[in-house]
Symmetry: C2
Subunit: 148 residues, 2 copies
């Protein structure tokens, strides 16, 4: 006779706690916001992504990313390059000591990930992943279609 969990609220709580902690840590260690770290992580895996691709990958609007990249460029961590054929396209590349920053952070993030998952066995981890993916995929549809 347990009621269903309030997914909405629980997701928000979990996210807030996690993101705030990571953001604080990231600002303290590297002077970068979490999103800025996200950009670096992404580019370290694949340089030359377009601004739009990076925005999509980070679930961020292009307008938000545009200003973020401005600040990162000023700090010399990222460089805007032009797309070869297409003059509209902006391709992003790592610069300065961005690679070193990522190299330092990535194992730390993996560690957090492992620790957070430690209390859950493989089957449970699958459920968790399935749930989060499900929410990411269908949230908009579900929320939009609901009756007014």
């Amino acid at each position: 006779m347990t009621r269903p969990p309030k997914v909405f609220f629980l997701v928000h709580k979990a996210h807030t706690a996690l993101i705030r902690a990571v953001d604080r840590r990231s600002r303290r260690d590297a002077g970068l916001s979490m999103t800025q770290q996200g950009v670096l992580f992404l580019l370290e895996r694949q340089e030359g992504l377009t601004l739009g691709e990076v925005a999509d990958a980070l679930s961020l609007g292009k307008s938000s990313l545009s200003g973020l990249i401005d600040r990162m460029e000023e700090r010399g961590l990222v460089r805007r390059g032009s797309g070869e054929g297409d003059g509209r396209i902006v391709r992003l590349f790592l610069a300065g000591d961005a690679r070193a920053l990522v190299a330092k952070s990535r194992p730390m993030v993996s560690g957090w990930n492992a620790t957070l998952l430690a209390p859950f066995d493989a089957a449970e981890q699958k459920v968790i992943a399935r749930f989060l993916t499900h929410v990411a995929e269908y949230a908009e549809e579900i929320v939009e279609e609901g009756a007014t």
Copy 2:
């Protein structure tokens, strides 16, 4: 041989999708941000909470909430009252048509919740709730203690 899910990223994706959808919907239907709705939901359940209590319940800094309440007060949805004995305390009360707004929204939110959980059986829902609670509770500790 499946790798563990990247919890961090998945939580972020799920949250972003969910919150953005709900926020857009809320602004469209009621002209309120999601956080503002959160304040109303909370006060509808228990009026007269202090500003600090509301901030904690919503995982929000007091400074953030202070300005938010300013705007809600201007719109006549909330009222600042004084704590009886203690002059520092600000107690919050619903005003205007706040109650009607909540009455309209609450069943909708319940619907979203049910739909999001529909593909998961009771046991799986328990795992999901346990995981989200776990993250909310230990994220800060885990992220802070990690090696530099």
